[in-house]
């Protein structure tokens, strides 16, 4: 009469502070009556350039979005006197292209909301300063841009504010901090937009949201609501639920409203993790971000996916080396539309490039950033989806500068740098948001093909890639190739014998393959690594019950129940184990508790009836 819920395993996402967004990176504000860009007003060098006629349109279009009170920029650029007060500085930073912050080179595939000044616009500002910063005819000045105050998309349906603010010290190195926002919803909801308000925008360099459906980040907090430090974080997920949205904020970001059918799913119990990069300002700052969520009633019908190319294993950069090259390439197994791209490296990254070589042999530049700067990293959304047919080879080529000449080098003198999660380590990541197209829905979720191809590629590329083995195993397990999955999990555990998630997953797979006696050692290893691991206790209880050790099983289910008192399955299984031990009254109360949590459990009702009969017959 013992019915147990199947074992639990997890998908690992190297969430690498990179992952999951739904906010666009574009930086052009919600301007009403946005001035036309008229830099090419065809003034010849002899003509007089004035602020009102020539410079104001450029500034209002490309600078004022951030350079206004309450926004990220340190001073306002909203009128003649504002601009005059920074005129020479504006010439310098536009000529060096430090401002506006837009890293990619111009290319054939256009990005949405490009924030790049033309050469003519830059020359115009320079000429204006050379000619003495003349204000000009008041009739020429375009209307000052008008901005939406407060939430850009109007009042959100749900506002979440960080429990505990972070006090940023006045000095020191950049800080990476993660705020956890539990989402108080009772049922699955669909999200069309999320607006990130990172606290004081002047000190938050960028922020992004990761979706944690299993509460796996909470274990990193010293106390609930405290948040935790770290630049790159890992999220675990129990179902095949690949990251699909790029939820990113940087100065100037306008919240991105997903097109209909591309909503983000939020389940009961989901946490949103806001990963922030903060820069000290010279005085103490209190940072308390909030998130505005906009729901839609339209569930997702199009399921995009984030494909990650990476080659961190090749990052072993000798000190002093100026041009250390890392490449990776991936052959697309299906037709996709490329929607957005997000390159990521740390402080040694210099020249970053991604190409697509189509099956017909033509090559397109997907992105080229000749002077990488982590401080201005962004998600770049294409103006139009880019069709990449099956057989397209996507490749990346990142160049790193670990010499003394790189001022951003975290070590002085330069030291050997390897791949890793700390800001002093390096990364070689490229995220592509792709939407599968031209697929036959009868043949299953097309994203599975992408995920499997990617995991196989990663395992071949780097047999020591823990996450690749782990995710390939999870993929195989979901296709019910359980023995192959066990093999991959074993390789993963071999690489990280102390990893709680991998040991738990291997144990769960062995239970599923009817080898509970082999599972126990891995589940015990998982619990040694993480004593308060709900899944580990649950699965160990399951494995012990499978060997008729009901006392041991009951003990594990009790520990699991203590960790998650609202879990109906744990209560049901605890009841079943107690029934096997002959403790009928206790068994009955746990069955009733399970039904109280979730009345819709036929198996529990069946168990309860069987128990009642057993009790009546005595």
């Amino acid at each position: 009469m013992l019915h147990l819920r199947p074992g639990i395993n997890s998908w690992l996402r190297d969430a690498g502070w990179t992952v999951i967004l739904s906010l666009a990176a574009g930086a052009v504000a919600t301007l009403s009556g946005k001035p036309a860009r008229q830099a090419s007003s065809a003034a010849t060098p002899a003509e007089q350039v004035t602020f009102n006629h020539d410079v104001a349109p450029i500034i209002f279009h490309s600078c004022s979005t951030c350079h206004r009170p309450g926004e990220a920029a340190p001073f306002s650029l909203l009128n003649y006197s504002d601009v005059k007060k920074h005129a020479r500085q504006i010439v310098d930073v536009t000529q060096s292209r430090a401002m506006p912050p837009w890293l990619p080179q111009p290319q054939k595939l256009k990005f949405a909301d490009e924030l790049r000044l033309s050469d003519a616009e830059i020359r115009m500002i320079q000429r204006w300063v050379e000619q003495g910063e003349i204000e000009g005819n008041p009739a020429d000045v375009p209307a000052q841009p008008k901005f939406v105050e407060g939430w850009r998309l109007g009042k959100p349906d749900l506002v979440l504010t960080a429990n505990k603010p972070l006090t940023l010290p006045p000095s020191g190195t950049d800080t990476y901090w993660n705020f956890i926002f539990p989402v108080p919803i009772q049922q699955t909801r669909w999200v069309k937009a999320i607006e990130i308000r990172p606290g004081d925008k002047r000190y938050v360099h960028h922020a992004n949201i990761l979706v944690d459906r299993e509460g796996s980040s909470r274990q990193r907090e010293t106390e609930p609501g405290a948040g935790f430090g770290g630049m790159e974080i890992r999220i675990e997920s129990q179902v095949f639920d690949p990251d699909s949205h790029l939820l990113f904020w940087k100065p100037g970001t306008v919240p991105y409203v997903e097109p209909e059918g591309m909503a983000l799913r939020l389940d009961k119990g989901t946490d949103l993790i806001l990963n922030t990069h903060l820069q000290p300002s010279g005085k103490p700052e209190v940072i308390q971000p909030s998130i505005g969520i906009y729901f839609t009633t339209h569930p997702a019908t199009k399921l995009p996916m984030l494909l990650q190319l990476e080659n961190d294993a090749k990052l072993d950069i000798p000190p002093g080396q100026k041009d250390f090259v890392v490449t990776d390439e991936f052959l697309l197994p299906i037709d996709v539309d490329l929607l957005a791209i997000y390159p990521h490296a740390h402080y040694l990254g210099k020249d970053i490039q991604a190409l697509a070589t189509l099956p017909n042999g033509t090559t397109e530049t997907l992105i080229h950033i000749p002077q990488w700067n982590l401080n201005w990293q962004a998600v770049y959304r294409y103006a139009e989806p880019v069709r990449l047919p099956k057989g397209t080879r996507v490749s990346l080529r990142y160049v790193y500068d670990n010499s003394e000449e790189n001022p951003l080098n975290p070590s002085h003198p330069p030291a050997r740098v390897r791949g890793g999660n700390r800001s002093s380590d390096e990364m070689c990541h490229l995220w592509l948001q792709v939407l599968p197209v031209n697929f036959d829905p009868a043949r299953g979720d097309p994203r599975m093909l992408l995920q499997e191809a990617l995991a196989r590629h990663n395992v071949e590329k780097n047999p020591a890639d823990f996450e690749a083995h782990y995710n390939l195993a999870a993929m195989l397990q979901s296709k019910e190739k359980i023995e192959a999955a066990i093999h991959e999990y074993q390789l993963a555990v071999g690489l990280r014998p102390d990893d709680a998630a991998a040991n738990n997953a291997l144990g769960a797979a062995l239970v599923a393959a009817n080898h509970p006696e082999q599972a126990v050692q891995y589940l015990r290893a998982a619990l040694k690594a993480r004593p308060d691991y709900f899944d580990g206790h649950y699965n160990l209880g399951f494995a012990l019950a499978g060997q008729n050790d009901f006392a041991g099983a009951a003990e594990q289910f009790r520990l699991a129940s203590r960790l998650q008192p609202q879990d109906a399955n744990v209560e049901a299984n605890l009841g079943a184990a107690l029934a096997q031990l002959g403790d009928f009254p206790a068994a009955r109360s746990h069955f009733l508790r399970a039904l109280q949590i979730d009345p819709n459990q036929p198996i529990v009702k069946e168990n309860l009836d069987a128990l009642q009969k057993e009790m009546n017959s005595h």
Partner: protein, 190 residues
């Protein structure tokens, strides 16, 4: 005028320059936050450091803990003044800024750019270091923390201001490489 004095003037151009500037103080002046005219070089036999700052300059802001720390390290031997060259800055605004950034240093308003010229400042933040005889021995950046706007090193690897202060104490010449600061132009305020 004795021959000895003549000789001194000829060999020390900076002193002559300073003397001229000091003469001009009657017309062009700097003020403390109470509105009193102040000559930071007068009545002092200490090394004097002028630190030029703009309130609207984020690089000036980020340097506050550095400036505070260096001034503390040489307290008693070097007199630090914060100089605000933006003529639209009120004393009240500067006081607020000092409190926010935790400064314990005296501040001056320099609306006519008298001190800017005296210290040859071009950018904020920059510093001017005067030795005990009020000769300008160094003007330029504090250190090389910033390589460029938006590109700061994790920590500076050169320390020009501290080297200049120590040279001024020792009466030694300062190695002058004429490196300007990275930040905001003072000339944009004119």
């Amino acid at each position: 005028m004795s021959a000895g004095t003549m000789l001194l003037r000829i060999t020390s151009a900076a002193t002559v320059l300073l003397a001229c500037t000091a003469l001009g103080f009657g017309q062009h002046t700097a003020f403390d936050l109470e509105g009193h005219v102040v000559d930071p070089l007068a009545h002092s036999s200490k090394v004097v450091v002028l630190v030029f700052l703009r309130r609207d300059c984020p690089v000036s802001g980020r340097y506050a803990p550095v400036i505070q720390q260096i001034s503390k390290a040489y307290a008693g031997r070097a007199r630090f003044w914060l100089v605000y060259p933006d003529k639209s800055d009120s004393a009240q605004e500067i006081r607020k800024y000092l409190t926010e950034y935790g400064y314990h240093l005296a501040a001056l308003r320099d609306p006519e750019h008298t001190l800017v010229k005296l210290g040859r400042a071009q950018i904020t933040p920059e510093v001017a270091v005067f030795d005990r005889s009020h000769r300008l021995v160094y003007d330029g950046r504090i250190d090389n923390w910033y390589a460029d706007l938006g590109r700061a090193r994790p920590a500076p690897t050169t320390h020009e201001l501290e080297e200049a202060i120590q040279a001024a104490f020792a009466g030694k010449p300062v190695h002058r490489s004429e490196v300007r600061g990275v930040g905001c132009y003072i000339s944009d305020l004119e």
